[in-house]
Amino acid sequence: MTRRRRSLLPRTILLSAAAVYIVLASWGGIWERLLSPIMPDVQEYLYPRVGLWTLTWQHCVLVSVSSTLSILVGMGTGILATRSFGRDFLPAVNSLVSVGQTFPPVAVLALAVPSVGFGAEPAIIALFLYGLLPVVRNTVGGLEAVTPAVREAAMGMGMTELQALWRVELPLSAKVIMAGIRTSVVINIGTATIGATIGAGGLGAPIITGLASDNTAFILQGSILAALFAIIADAALDIIENQLGPASTQAGEKEDGQPQ
């Protein structure tokens, strides 16, 4: 298909960010070399308690578990709310999810700790709730943008509700839904650093320790790696999004402005 946007930019970003990440996470000595000229007073340049790869793995688990839940529940809610039987719930779903987004994740963490205790679980709950909004919003938006004529044609031709959804509506809104997933995952990677405050580990641990012990090197370590992580995920999802077909199929708009 010639109409796919074949940009090399996301691939370049993905590869270079991944290369930098591997160097920074594997070669502990590089932090002292890079940071000692600008901050000579620091005693310790490398976060000592847990290896950087272990922190990366913990972060990965937090993000992937919470994002998978966000995507499954978010898409499911979005699909149900746009079906004929679930349409009554659409306004309720929209406002509920918006309220979820206005809650600061720290507040969700604070509320989750008493019920499930310290560790990764409360962090995952908070991240899951926080990542729902972009997925639900884009699923609803993408499905609603499918032209009524296309839906009418699908039904009129004898597709069942499920066939119309699977063969027509989801393929047509895939790009928009994927954009929502991308936003959700990237937000989650950044927000997951807060999980360290309640013992969830991850790349937030050096940041929290650095803040507590006034060690700027630790703070930089955590934040630079978390930022690179987010960039890598963003570029990878961007590539997937572009694989999902030409933008011109979106909602079926026609180039020659067919009169309706």
């Binding site: 109409r3 032209t147 004529a149 296309v150 839906r151 009418e152 044609a153 699908a154 039904m155 009129g156 031709m157 004898g158 597709m159 069942t160 066939q163 027509v168 393929p171 047509l172 077909g245 030409p246 011109s248 199929t249 979106q250 909602a251 079926g252 708009e253 026609k254 180039e255 020659d256 067919q258 009169p259 309706q260």
Partner: protein
């Protein structure tokens, strides 16, 4: 056969369709027509259950449509809508194959069928098969829409203002093509339109609706010749006589032509004119060549006085300018009469061979 019996569709306050009964026989092309809001689209959509009637029954070949699973029912009926609704993420071929694939036809069979249909609708499969709907013009897209409806060879076609959004030229072209296809396929068609010319042109039956009720149902000729009431009269328009002419074919009003061969001597010419004197078409003699092809005419007013050699007096013409084809409607023939200001026109076939003549008097009488 589609039988609609005492069907009503009631919304909260008002009726969209009220106690409507209508039977569409097999092979019939029934145009539902009326002003907007008259319930014609609602009626159509109740046949494939896109809308559920509030009361009454609709049967297809004796079976109540509500006794058949809805998806099965719809797969048996082609459905064409004004906004076309092609699936933008599928190629033209994939769009046409939608219903065959739902019916789990073998891929090779459904593909072959899609290619045939593209050919039938005058779109080259090689050029258009792989295109996406966004790359098509409105007329091409609706052709694909019609092909898609025909894909699983349904006996019934439901068409909701299918040509309504097209420009007049594409619309006429598509109407002609569609008529030709229907003459071959003999589908049972329910066709919604708000355009009386389209209804008269395409329909074998026309059902005129107003405020959800059936006002008149009959052949286009009946509707035009004998409007049931003032509303019908107004709806079919002041030019209903002209519209009626568009249903009549020149071929049905053929007279033997008064013609002479090109090599005929002047005496024969004179004799012919004397013979014609007093008849409707006394003034002109059509001139043909050895193979009975029309080459021109001789104007009787000159010849009798000047007695010129016939070949000199022959008005050489491009027969296309003054002749009528047997397939022309009387409306087209009338336009030609007016344009040429004559009372007689020759009728020729595709090879320009003289078939006969038609007379203005017949057109006026019909």
């Amino acid at each position: 056969m589609i039988r609609i019996e005492n069907v009503s569709k009631r919304y909260e306050k008002s009726y969209a369709v009220r106690n409507l009964s209508l039977t569409v026989a097999k092979g019939e092309l029934c145009c539902l027509i009326g002003p907007s809001g008259c319930g014609k689209s609602t009626t159509l959509k109740m046949i494939n259950r896109m809308i559920a009637p509030s009361s009454g029954t609709i049967t297809v070949d004796g079976v109540d449509v509500h006794e058949v699973p809805v998806a099965t029912l719809r797969r048996r009926m082609g459905y064409v809508i004004q906004s076309i609704g092609l699936f933008p993420h599928m190629t033209v071929l994939a769009n046409i194959q939608v219903v065959p694939r739902l019916l789990r036809w073998e891929e090779s069979r459904s593909r072959k069928r899609a290619l045939e249909l593209l050919e039938l609708l005058g779109l080259s499969p090689d050029t258009y098969g792989g295109k996406y709907p966004a790359e098509l013009s409105g007329g091409q897209a609706q052709r694909v829409g019609v092909a898609r409806a025909l894909a699983a060879d349904p006996q019934i076609l439901l068409m909701d203002e299918p040509f309504g959004a097209l420009d007049p030229i594409s619309r006429e072209h598509l109407q002609n093509q569609f008529l030709a296809i229907q003459q071959e396929l003999h589908k049972t068609i329910v066709f919604v339109t708000h355009d009386i010319d389209e209804a008269v042109r395409l329909g074998t039956k026309v059902a005129l609706l107003r405020d959800g009720r059936l006002v008149q149902y009959g052949s286009p000729e009946q509707l035009l010749a004998a409007p049931a009431d003032a509303f019908v009269k107004k709806f079919v328009g002041l030019d209903r006589a002209l519209k009626r002419l568009s249903r009549l074919l020149a071929a049905d009003f053929l007279h033997p032509a008064n013609s002479v061969a090109r090599q005929a001597p002047p005496e024969l010419l004179e004799a012919e004119f004397r013979r014609l004197e007093g008849s409707d078409c006394a003034r002109y003699l059509w001139v043909t060549d050895e193979e009975n092809r029309l080459v021109g005419w001789v104007d009787g007013n000159n010849t009798t006085e000047k007695r010129l050699n016939m070949l000199e007096d022959l008005v050489e013409i491009d027969p296309a300018d003054i002749s009528v084809r047997p397939g022309y409607s009387l409306k087209q023939a009338l336009a030609m009469f007016v344009q040429q200001s004559v009372a007689c026109l020759p009728v020729v076939d595709d090879e320009r061979r003289l078939q006969g003549e038609i007379r203005l008097a017949d057109v006026l009488k019909s």
